[in-house]
């Protein structure tokens, strides 16, 4: 029911979601990524007690498939009741114990890593007696759900620490599956009813160490604006990458020539806010940034070139499909050990491709027999 990151491979995607599966592959391939574990979708599938499930089915079943769902007020009301209901349910004891054991293993590994590296406070909370800070991430498993996950329908919580808090946020991740916009998304996809089980979600949860970040952002292996694959793009801000990913800030922006690896253009953004861990809130929060930092580039040229190169390596490992790669640079570690890869996914704006749009031919895969008969042997009608 729990898989440590070191044991996760691509084949586990149906259990842990493509996001966590990709991280497992990266870890296995020797990339520097935050350690962690995944609570599998099958372990969570029936975690809700039967009465809660029945109640949810009643709530959602009436609402989601209905044409009447155009009423946003009703949707919001149902969502609020559903989330409250879910967050109030205790996790089954066996599951909670398994998570606690996995979390203890993670904390042990983190302490050992810190001791090994003598890297002091490189990983927040890992040093001293403070509990390890982690990110609790929703990881949707089914294809539609993965789309929903990328579309931000499920939530991620940064800066969680302590097992009680972790268990709490696993439930919150699940509950985020019933948020108003998640329900609306399901309704639009026509998947709302999920058969006789409207409460069902195909969701795994990843728990990953929270790196103590100096700067973070995204690297694209094509220019996301023009689709030009000879250009790589790096965008970044101080602090955690959430300010960049969520579009809350105009980030620093570099373009890098793929062939030479040289920086071609650089633009320092207007970084008025940043994502930072707030001890008071116990979470990563968005805060106003000091003026001098806002106008200063948050990466060195070496870091930009390195990130661009790493992104192309990930792209090559993904069969050349353009990727966007989320990364972070940790405080207190020497470059390039300081560079962590957080996640990556196929770049979707251009890969869906204008050349495919409206084409009569469906985007079928490569079938050697079909190609041989039709294009090589030119069999009429093949």
């Amino acid at each position: 029911m729990i898989l440590d990151l070191g044991d996760i491979r691509a084949a586990d995607a149906p259990r842990v979601g493509p996001k966590m599966a990709r991280l497992g592959e990266l870890a296995a391939a020797g990339w520097r990524i935050p350690d962690g574990y995944a609570v599998t979708a099958d372990a969570l599938a029936d975690w809700l007690p039967a009465p809660a499930r029945a109640e949810l089915d009643g709530l959602l079943g009436a609402l989601i498939p209905a044409q009447a769902a155009a009423d946003p007020g009703a949707l919001a009301g149902v969502s609020a009741r559903a989330r409250e209901l879910v967050e109030g349910q205790p996790l089954p004891a066996a599951l909670a114990e398994a998570v606690a054991a996995a979390h203890e293993r993670l904390e042990r590994r983190a302490r050992a890593a810190v001791a090994d590296a003598a890297a002091g406070d490189a990983r927040a909370g890992a040093g001293g007696d403070a509990a390890l800070r982690v990110a609790v991430r929703s990881s949707a498993v089914s294809e539609d759900g993965a789309g929903a996950s990328f579309a931000g329908q499920y939530e991620t919580y940064l800066g969680v620490s302590g097992i009680a808090d972790v268990l709490d946020h696993i439930r919150k991740c699940w509950a985020s599956g019933y948020s108003a916009h998640a329900l609306e998304y399901r309704r639009r996809l026509g998947r709302g009813g999920a058969g006789a089980r409207p409460h069902a979600l195909d969701l795994a949860v990843g728990v990953l160490e929270l790196v103590d970040v100096r700067s973070a952002g995204v690297a694209f292996t094509l220019d996301p604006v023009t689709g030009d694959r000879n250009t790589l793009v790096v965008e970044a801000n101080w602090g955690y990458g959430e300010s960049v990913v969520s579009g809350q800030v105009s980030p620093d922006h570099w373009t890098v020539d793929r062939a030479t690896g040289d920086i071609v253009t650089r633009r320092t953004g207007d970084k008025r806010v940043w994502s930072v861990f707030s001890p008071a809130a116990g979470r990563v929060v968005l805060e106003p940034a000091a003026a001098d930092r806002a106008a200063r580039a948050c990466l060195t040229d070496d870091e930009v070139r390195h990130l661009a190169r790493q992104a192309t390596r990930i792209e090559a490992a993904e069969g050349g499909a353009p990727q966007d790669v989320e990364w972070a640079i940790a405080r207190g570690l020497p470059f390039p050990d300081s560079v962590f890869i957080l996640q990556h996914r196929p770049e979707t704006t251009w890969t869906a491709g204008p050349q495919d749009a409206g084409d009569a031919e469906p985007a079928a895969g490569f079938d050697p027999v079909r190609y041989a008969l039709r294009n090589v042997f030119r069999v009429p009608g093949a």
Partner: protein, 592 residues
């Protein structure tokens, strides 16, 4: 099983007839073939095209090798095409000009047959491509098991009747091996050509596809590495002198006279034990294996030794792999979205079922080896027959046709009524006929019959290089006086100027000097060592999948194939400029 005495016999006598039906006698020789046996040319053949296959058979065929030829490029190809269900072709068929092999194809010419074959083609091909590793392991295992049996027969301890039985087993195996050859070849070629078509569809050059599939380790690349290693050992053990300068006949004696010579020869013999079960040409009963005559590998080691000392065989291979990966990445960057996904699927399919790899790999199990058990048993039987005074010497067996041998061994007479004595009398004439045609081989036209505008068989295009441009060059080829530039298929990139060395048979390969531009009809596995010393390669025949193209890429030298006319236009000693990216060869100055 009861003995013959005890067996109950129901006589067939009442049913014995000369005719199958009143007025109908079955013609001889038409039965075992799907479409047609090896034949001499007839006038009707003027209506079709026939390509000289100097690629596989440069020196001509002795009578005994005609049966093995007909197992291979005739029967095997026809059965393979039939079973796989290749829609446009029923395989290849052979004609002989004197003793020299020409190949033609049998087009499927009715629409219904094309459709019917297309309908079953996928049923045969799909499961094989889905798990090619397992499939090839099964077939290779079958072949290896046969060699384990046939190679280990102690023929010299057998009585003559058992030797004959062993020869029949070897013949049966030979035929089976060639069915496997063409079955797998057609399946893999389809996969390759499908990738080629996909590449063209998404805006890449189809001709680049074979480059994406280069660099997988084969039995032959391992052989080359071993030869390279032995060259290094020859330096260490100080035996390079004879390898570089001695004649093949005395080389072994000269090496063994050196202080560390015996030690080096032990290593060389251990190499032969693993890699020596191969002959110089396909199907030829009259050519020895490396174990019988190691002058070819000794020459190859000498060739490696004469390479400039800076040359690093492994570095060249690594470089070729890096170039391949760079080409793949560049191709990926030029396509997007669903096209990229299809490209990656096609690449994965072809990496798993890789024609470019198999085209080299299969030779050691089939082309260069399958006839060796036939040769061994033939020579052993020949020794017994010579001892009996039936023939003069064992090698006389090469000048008997398989059908004659069957008739004589099974009933004492050939189908034509000839006795051992009659045939023995014919052998000197047959030998002279073979030698005469062997001499005339280099003068034979590249193509006979009607040269078409295009050929429909994609295998003939990619393997033999019968592109439209090739055919056009052949049609215009009569007047060669003013030709200063020859065009062909750009098989491996790079530009080189050098002195041409025209070689028409692998037997002359030792004439090639380091730095030469090799000009030849086409190359096969046996030519591989020479790629370690030449500056560039130019061939009359060949397409993206031919041996010369594949090996040139691995050795990092420019190569142009499918020129149609190179060996007739370029003379040894000419200074030429080879541009492997443009696919051109310029004759700069005449050597005369």
């Amino acid at each position: 099983m009861p003995s013959q005495d005890e067996a109950t016999r129901v006589p067939v006598d009442d049913f014995v007839r000369d005719e199958l039906y009143p007025g109908y006698k079955q013609p001889f020789g038409g039965q075992p073939f799907v479409a047609g046996p090896v034949r001499p040319f007839s006038r009707a053949d003027n209506a079709r095209y026939w390509l000289r296959d100097s690629l596989h058979f440069s020196e001509g065929m002795v009578p005994a090798s005609i049966a093995t030829l007909d197992d291979a490029q005739t029967w095997g190809a026809q059965l393979g095409a039939e079973i796989v269900g290749v829609p446009p072709t029923r395989g290849s068929v052979n004609r002989l000009a004197g003793t020299h092999v020409y190949i033609g194809t049998i087009d499927v010419d009715t629409e219904w047959q094309v459709q019917a074959r297309a309908a079953r083609f996928g049923q045969y091909v799909t499961p094989i491509l889905r798990d090619f590793d397992s499939y090839w392991a099964m077939r290779a295992g079958e072949l290896q098991a046969a060699y384990d049996h046939l190679d280990n027969l102690d023929l010299s301890a057998m009585d003559p009747a058992t030797v004959w039985t062993s020869l029949k087993d070897a013949y049966a195996f030979h035929r089976r091996a060639w069915f496997i050859h063409f079955e797998v070849m057609y399946v893999l070629t389809a996969n390759y050509l499908a990738f080629y078509a996909l590449a063209e569809e998404i805006g890449l050059a189809g001709s680049a596809v074979s480059g994406f599939l280069a660099g997988q380790q084969t039995f032959y690349s391992k052989t080359d590495e071993e030869l390279w290693r032995l060259a290094g050992r020859a330096r260490e053990l100080e035996v390079t002198g004879p390898l570089l300068h001695a004649s093949p006949d005395s080389m072994r004696a000269q090496i063994s006279a050196l202080p560390h010579g015996a030690g080096w020869l032990d290593e060389f013999d251990a190499f032969l034990e693993v890699y020596g079960q191969r002959t110089e040409e396909t199907c030829r009963i009259d050519t020895p294996s490396w174990i019988e005559d190691p002058s070819a590998p000794l020459y190859a080691i000498g060739a490696f030794l004469s390479k400039p000392t800076g040359f690093d065989f492994f570095a060249a291979r690594q470089q070729a792999i890096a170039v391949r990966d760079e080409q793949i990445e560049a191709a990926r960057r030029s396509v997007n979205g669903a096209d990229l996904a299809r490209f990656n699927e096609a690449l994965a399919s072809n990496q798993a079922a890789n024609f470019a790899w198999w085209n080299e790999e299969h030779n050691y199990l089939i082309d260069r080896r399958a006839a060796i058990p036939v040769r061994r048993a033939t020579l052993e039987l020949g020794a017994r027959l010579a001892a009996d005074g039936r023939i003069e010497r064992p090698e006389d067996m090469f000048f008997l046709f398989k059908e004659e041998l069957y008739g004589l061994m099974e009933g004492g007479l050939t189908a034509a009524g000839a006795t051992w004595k009659d045939l023995a009398a014919m052998i000197p004439d047959r030998r002279a006929y073979f030698e005469d045609w062997k001499r005339r081989g280099p003068e034979l036209p590249t193509m006979l019959g009607t040269i078409p505008d295009t050929v429909p068989d994609p295998i003939m295009i990619e393997v033999f290089g019968l592109s439209g441009r090739f055919l056009e060059a052949l049609r215009g080829g009569a007047d060669r006086g003013g030709i200063a530039e020859i065009r062909g298929f750009p098989a491996a990139k790079g530009v080189v100027e050098g002195v041409a060395r025209v070689i028409t048979t692998v037997a002359d390969i030792h004439l090639v000097q380091p730095g030469d531009v090799l000009v030849c009809g086409g190359t096969t596995t046996e030519w591989t060592p020479v790629f370690g010393i030449i500056a560039a390669c130019v061939c009359d025949t060949g397409g993206s999948l031919t041996h010369a193209a594949i090996v040139s890429r691995e050795y990092g030298i420019p190569c142009v194939v499918g020129t149609a006319l190179a060996t007739q236009t370029i003379k040894t000693g000419d200074r030429v400029r080879v541009d492997g990216r443009a696919g051109t060869v310029q004759i700069l100055t005449s050597g005369q």
